[in-house]
């Protein structure tokens, strides 16, 4: 289900995150890339070089906005200035959909600048879904929410993470940016089967997929975006594509960033799975599908 209402009925292929070390290469060599994802906050400014570069990229490439500080799950109201600037950028990029995270990160007007895990409670479902609807109505562009990597869970949680995700997106009627690396990281940190998560997500709402590398420490895994994609993550990606069909896919590489060609080549490995899934997805599939939990 490549094109759906959550990704503006687009049929994007494999993209990479637009990062500064690659600016010169992209602007001078003009490599063929399906699309770029930008971090919205880096361009929510009034002028200067970032916007100049963005405009040049927009002239030649498809661009999708990805945010890191909307904090759909924060109990406090969104900052009107943030929304105003974001809408201004949406008009500039004409992004077919806009993503941000299913998390919180600010309270009482103070920002942690981190993607903090939600307590999976019914109150949080309502607050988060209301906020997503509000943002979507204001921005007038499809909003999709991304599952985050987490390192902690709360006692008060009343459901699993995937149940929470499903409840939120149903109530908000929004799409999902499924980050399969984040699912893997969280599964290792919290001890659940990542395939159960992948199998429980409503495929018709998946607008985009993220892949990335992570770092393994002795007692936990950290979502560092500084490595190639690891095999267990590719396996989750394969399973997701098996369920959804070809879906817009984006590689995130944010630290120890290698050459453009290396990052792009890593992203293009996704084609192995996308090409194999060019046929309509088959459901149900695989035995681990049966383990999926849905409310």
């Amino acid at each position: 289900m490549p094109a759906n209402r959550f990704n503006g009925y687009t049929d994007y292929g494999v993209g990479i995150g637009l990062r500064i070390p690659h600016y010169r290469h992209i602007l001078t060599k003009k490599p063929v890339v399906d699309w770029f994802e930008i971090i919205s906050e880096n361009y929510m400014i009034d002028g200067g070089r970032p916007l100049e570069v963005l405009d040049k990229i927009l002239d030649q490439y498809k661009v999708v906005q990805h945010g890191v500080s909307m904090y759909f799950g924060s109990a406090s109201d969104p900052d009107p200035e943030h929304l105003r600037r974001l809408k201004q950028l949406v008009k500039r990029t004409r992004t077919p959909w806009l993503s941000d995270h299913l998390c919180w990160g600010s309270v009482d007007g103070r920002y942690t600048h981190d993607l903090l895990p939600m307590p999976y409670t019914w109150e949080a479902v309502k607050v988060t879904a209301d906020r997503i609807r509000h943002v979507q109505d204001f921005l007038e562009v499809p909003v999709v929410v991304e599952n985050v990597s987490s390192y902690a869970e709360y006692h008060v949680s009343e459901m699993t993470e995937w149940e929470f995700l499903n409840e939120v997106v149903e109530r908000a009627d929004c799409g999902i940016l499924l980050d399969v690396n984040n699912i893997y990281v969280s599964s290792q940190n919290h001890g659940f089967d990542p395939f159960v998560y992948v199998n429980a997500v409503p495929t018709q709402r998946i607008a985009q997929i993220h892949i990335a590398g992570h770092s393994k420490f002795e007692k936990y895994i950290l979502d560092t975006h500084d490595h190639p994609v690891l095999d267990p993550v590719w396996e989750l990606y394969a399973r997701t594509i098996e369920r959804t069909g070809p879906t817009a896919t984006l590689l995130e590489w944010d630290d120890k960033i290698p050459s453009f060609d290396e990052v792009h080549a890593e992203a293009l490995k996704a084609n192995r799975f996308l090409q194999g899934a060019a046929q309509p997805p088959s459901e149900p599939a695989k035995s681990h599908e049966l383990e999926g939990v849905a409310r």
Partner: protein
């Protein structure tokens, strides 16, 4: 300042404004026109080096802390990316509280 003098001064300024605007209109990007004395490039030479972007959604794992690892965690061992930046501060040398 006498009014006549002020008028002359304003005329001089306006003349400069017009002249500068004409120069600007004629200038091409990256022009070496001598009138465009911008001053010192803040990075020694104007370049992409001054580009910055602060936001990403990676977990923070730079040399200041290895993303939450502590002195005893194996995750920190064998890392050499901190060379020249003061190490991973496992010796208590930072942040007296």
């Amino acid at each position: 300042m006498k009014h006549s003098m002020k008028t002359l001064m304003v005329a001089a300024a306006v003349s400069g404004l017009l002249s500068g605007a004409a120069t600007l209109q004629a200038a091409t990007p990256h022009s070496t026109n001598p009138v465009l004395k911008a001053g010192k490039a803040s990075f020694g030479s104007a370049s992409l080096h001054q580009d910055t972007s602060k936001h990403s959604c990676k977990g923070k794992n730079d040399c200041k802390g290895q993303g939450g690892c502590k002195a005893g965690d194996n995750g920190c061992k064998g890392k050499n990316s901190c060379k020249g930046k003061g190490g991973c501060a496992t010796d208590g040398s930072k942040h007296p509280s």
